[in-house]
């Protein structure tokens, strides 16, 4: 039974695709799933960096596509997990170095021995994006609650929906205090506009950049609030009905700590 | 030269050539569009004639950052494919009278624009404006190549994150010898730098080694200004608004110090002080 193939995309750059792919992948692996992460951003690879695996790259996506190595040789096993591996992108090539069909074939091969294949899409709606989507049967669109991100997300939703693949939404970098003061669009606003199923809400967190810099996905910080959130997203992805956390001025942290203390 | 003058629009001087500057980064989301809009506004407020070109075919956003989305009637491809004159496509800014926008085509693809066409377009714009600022899309493919075509200067934007630095490094390589790019570090959070949770300006430029044009702090107000479509550079009293003006002044050749968030200056000073044996650690 082959695994689910999910592309993580957005249109707009910098909204958190790579961070989401890394953290969601790490969370699924923590839960015992076999996970393969594929970086489709040929030329501007970053998934390896975000996971701290950049020094272990031997082969990359394009070399697999060109038949210069086997997929299993290119996959880098993340030592922090039983079952997480990544296929890095090529750094010195361009996105047209691989066709959508070649990419889809690699994704399929990866999914034969995995429960989840998550594809980190590049920004934009050009060849790199098309490759990434070609390999997937489902999509997660990431947006921030800002006008330009949402507009671009709408564009990619349109493009993916044309292919009939199920699409779900993650609203990233939410600032609840700004929503309360009326200076940031709410999750509800975003959902009204995009009209796709909500998968998760991730608040802005100043530690995320630090974890990226260190190559330690924030989902690995057990006591952290984001690790709980990514866990909820993973559970929803697996079909569980998990209520969305309500963010309010009081702060998510206090509520979660209260909940944890209560067991 | 009289015959040449007749062909030009009233008000343009055929002999002058404005500066064409591309704003690029590789990584998306570091603030290219916001910076283009704000620097354009600041330069226009100084009296320069400025045109902003949105080179992000298919994903246009410069219009919405400027609050001009309801006024865009024609776009770059309408001009390149000769359906309209350049004049009809230039949207006058709502706030700054010397500022114009040339919007990207929302329903087209980047590969529908040829590099030679962009070069010709930018050359044409340079004859009519003092500054042509080109908002480059994310990536390093055709969209990027088209955006840099016709430009003779480049500003690279980088946030203090490893992925952004890596991407800028790649872009600088691709810009090649034609450009001597200057760096703007965007979205710095001096307090996080102090706590060791964010790269410092030195960390970033230690790797990139580019002339520093300016450093802009992370500013929640930017989100609000985009919500409203009113660039922050319209408010000089705001520190970030002021920073954009200082950068504009530098671009215009004024000898001003590199604008930096005050807290960042403090941090640098503290580090220097401790380096030389004084102060607290």
């Amino acid at each position: 039974m082959s695994g689910r193939r999910i592309v993580v995309t957005s249109g707009k750059g910098g909204v958190g695709k790579t961070t989401t792919t890394a953290n969601l992948g790490a969370t699924l692996a923590k839960r015992g799933r076999r996970v393969v992460l594929i970086d489709a951003d040929i030329g501007l690879r970053n998934l390896d960096l975000v996971l701290g695996l950049e020094k272990r790259i031997v082969f990359d996506l394009v070399e697999v596509a060109e038949g210069r190595c086997q997929l299993r040789q290119a996959l880098i096993k993340d030592k922090r997990f039983e079952s997480l591996a990544i296929l890095p992108a090529a750094q010195t090539r361009e996105k047209d170095a691989i066709t959508p069909e070649q990419f889809a074939a690699i994704v399929e091969e990866a999914s034969a021995h995995a429960d989840y294949v998550l594809i980190d899409s590049p920004a934009g709606i050009e060849a790199g994006f098309r490759n990434a989507v070609a390999g997937a049967a489902e999509a997660i669109v990431v947006t921030t609650p800002e006008v330009s991100s949402i507009r671009d997300a709408d564009r990619v939703v349109g493009k993916i929906a044309a292919g009939g693949k199920p699409i779900r939404l993650i609203v990233n970098r939410l600032r609840p205090e700004m929503v309360s003061s009326g200076e940031m669009l709410s999750v509800e606003d975003v959902c009204d506009v995009l009209a796709i199923e909500l998968l998760g809400i991730v608040p802005e967190d100043e530690d995320v950049i630090d974890t990226t810099n260190r190559g330690e996905p924030i989902a690995l910080r057990e006591a952290g609030r984001l690790s709980a959130i990514y866990d909820k997203i993973a559970r929803r992805l697996e079909g569980e009905l998990v209520p969305f956390t309500t963010f309010d001025r009081q702060g998510l942290f206090n509520r979660l700590m209260g909940a944890l203390k209560a067991g | 030269m009289e015959s040449v003058a007749i062909e030009r629009e009233i008000g343009a001087e055929p002999q002058r050539r404005g500066r064409a500057i591309v704003l690029t980064s590789g990584k998306g989301g570091v603030g290219k569009t916001t910076t283009t809009a704000n620097l354009g506004t600041a330069l226009a407020e100084r009296g320069a004639r400025v045109v902003l070109v949105d080179a992000d075919v298919g994903l246009r956003n410069l219009d919405i950052v400027l609050g001009l989305e309801s006024r865009v009637k024609y776009h770059v491809l309408d001009v390149l494919e000769e359906r309209v004159d350049l004049d009809e496509a230039l949207v006058p800014d709502k706030h700054s009278e010397n500022l114009r926008l040339l919007a990207a085509a929302q329903s087209r693809e980047k590969d529908e624009v040829q590099t030679a066409q962009m070069e010709a377009l930018i050359a044409m714009l340079r004859e009519r404006f003092d500054f042509v600022l080109i908002d480059c899309p994310a990536g390093i493919e055709l969209g990027f190549r088209n955006a840099i075509a016709g430009a003779d200067e480049a500003i690279v934007l980088c946030t203090p994150e490893v992925s952004a630095v890596r991407d800028v490094d790649r872009v600088v390589g691709l810009l090649g010898n034609r450009f001597k790019p200057q760096l703007i570090v965007n979205r710095l959070r001096p307090q996080l730098v102090k706590r060791g949770k964010m790269l410092s300006i030195d960390d970033v430029n230690g790797i990139l080694r580019l002339p520093l044009l300016g450093v802009i702090a992370d500013e929640p107000e930017i989100i609000i200004t985009t919500n409203r479509g009113e660039p922050l550079a319209l408010r000089k009293e705001n520190p970030t608004g002021a920073a954009y003006h200082a950068i504009a002044a530098k671009i215009a050749g004024e000898d001003v110090p590199v604008p930096m968030p005050p807290a960042a200056k403090q941090t640098l000073l503290e580090r220097l002080t401790s380096l030389f044996g004084g102060g607290r650690s």
């Binding site: 006008v147 949402i150 507009r151 709408d154 564009r155 349109g158 609840p176 929503v179 003061s181 009326g182 200076e183 940031m184 669009l185 709410s186 999750v187 509800e188 606003d189 959902c191 009204d192 506009v193 995009l194 009209a195 796709i196 199923e197 909500l198 809400i201 209520p243 969305f244 956390t245 309500t246 963010f247 309010d248 | 919405i64 609050g67 989305e69 309801s70 006024r71 929302q106 329903s107 609000i224 985009t226 919500n227 409203r228 479509g229």
Partner: protein
């Protein structure tokens, strides 16, 4: 009305403005991305109107115009003839005098000078049927429990 709206937006902060702008810009984006849909809409519109009056199908003009807080579709549909009102209210087929040779009478369409050249002099300005239709807002999403 506009002032009222502005006060509301102002009170509610920039996110209300943002949402409105986003809604409208997405409508425009969607239209720009759907030239086929616009053609179909034009055809359907003309088909419906033609059931009641005779129109010049060749000279239909449909544009979209941004108006304050909405997007409007403006259709300019030149009317060739309107039959005499009949008992059953159908103005199209009845009451039209047949010409001596039995063929249907046609008349030249006249447009208001806004876009086309001047019409024949001394004649009454032609009727211009304008139809303003607001584009429907995007479909409602499943409402999340998030605050």
């Amino acid at each position: 009305m506009i002032e009222f709206l502005r006060r509301i937006f102002g009170q509610r902060g920039s996110s209300a403005t943002a949402k409105e702008r986003l809604r409208l810009v997405l409508m425009t984006d969607h239209l720009e991305l759907s030239p086929d849909m616009i053609e179909t809409m034009k055809r359907d519109l003309v088909d419906v109107i033609s059931r009641h009056v005779e129109v010049d199908r060749e000279r239909i003009d449909v544009t979209f115009e941004r108006q304050e807080s909405t997007l409007a579709m403006l259709a300019n549909i030149p009317i060739l003839s309107v039959g005499r009102p009949s008992a059953n209210g159908n103005g199209k087929h009845e009451g039209r005098a047949p010409s001596p040779d039995g063929s249907a009478r046609t008349s030249k369409p006249k447009r208001v000078a806004a876009q086309t050249g001047p019409g024949a002099e001394g004649q009454a300005p032609p009727k211009r049927k304008r139809r303003r239709r607001k584009k429907s807002p995007p479909a409602p999403a499943t409402a999340p429990a998030a605050g």
